[in-house]
Symmetry: C2
Subunit: 185 residues, 2 copies
């Protein structure tokens, strides 16, 4: 009995000393964020737990400049590099920030300030929610705004989401060309 | 004997089912990347294994626009939020990309293309390498260029690195204001 406990303790200790290998653990469990009717919840702690795919910086003199940071659930990039597609259950979070800027040694540097909105996508290659207007084109779609960050406010993905993704239709609606980690780790 | 193996197997299986919690494992082992004389090696697979702190987009009509993505070793942001400083042994990688851009629905969107250079920093609050010109001001400093990505080419951090960091001196030389995850997860 004591010998067995010793072996188990040793195992726990040895596992605890392994270097952190977060994104190689593939847990494509995005559907945990979805309720019965197909409404999507924003994942908690994505800034800490998800992997960043990349950034788009958008110069828009009319509406103000924006920085878009896209995060993916652990394992997403590794799977994509090997299979050239997103795994069923992958979660993507695009956080849209307003920006500030200043003249620095390297030029006019822009950085993210306050969050404006979040877009959340969940890869669904099986058409799980045929009756929901928030699911279609192989993804579940969601929108959250900073004045009520936990309230999903999209009502119809075709009106609220899809139009901005049309230029990326050939890449499964995702702007993969700005995400270097999808082609090389 | 078989009973013990069974217990161990069960333990392995149960650990394997835990959700991925990468950055909460604090392994500030940056000094594994340093040789006896203080020369720093670029960490492998940082795009997959590290956490992204944030992005600076630099408009520079003379030298070409740049996108700077900064990655931190696992646990760095969590430690910083709780202690208002970087843990000894924290590794930061700043990857500097050239960019491309196109007119999109939201404006003139810029994204990262090919990597130009990498800056690597290791937090050293104990002055471990007093005789190295690559260590000082509480950090180890390193530079890698894309034509030879594994060769550290900085020779004197005061000449090669520090001047661009002077505006961030009060924040331990790091441009923390562009890294939202350091204040909120």
């Amino acid at each position: 009995m004591y010998a067995r406990m010793g072996a188990v303790t040793l195992l726990i200790l040895s596992l605890g000393n392994q270097p952190a290998k977060p994104q190689t653990r593939n847990s494509f469990d995005g559907f945990k964020l979805v309720n019965r009717t197909g409404n999507i919840q924003k994942p908690a702690d994505y800034r800490d737990l998800y992997q960043t795919l990349g950034t788009y910086f958008v110069l828009d003199p009319k509406g103000g400049n924006q920085m878009h940071l896209t995060y993916a659930s652990p394992g997403a990039a590794d799977y994509y590099r090997r299979n050239k597609k997103f795994a069923d259950g992958t979660v993507l979070v695009k956080e849209v920030f307003g920006t500030d800027h200043a003249q620095m040694t390297t030029g006019d540097a822009h950085w993210a300030k306050d969050t404006k909105v979040w877009f959340v996508l969940i890869k669904d290659s099986k058409g799980r929610y045929p009756n929901s207007s928030l699911w279609g084109d192989d993804w579940g779609w969601a929108l959250f705004k900073s004045d009520s960050p936990d309230k999903q406010v999209a009502t119809d993905y075709k009106k609220d989401c899809l139009s901005c993704h049309i230029p990326a239709k050939a890449d499964d609606w995702i702007y993969v060309k700005g995400y270097p980690v999808l082609s090389s780790k």
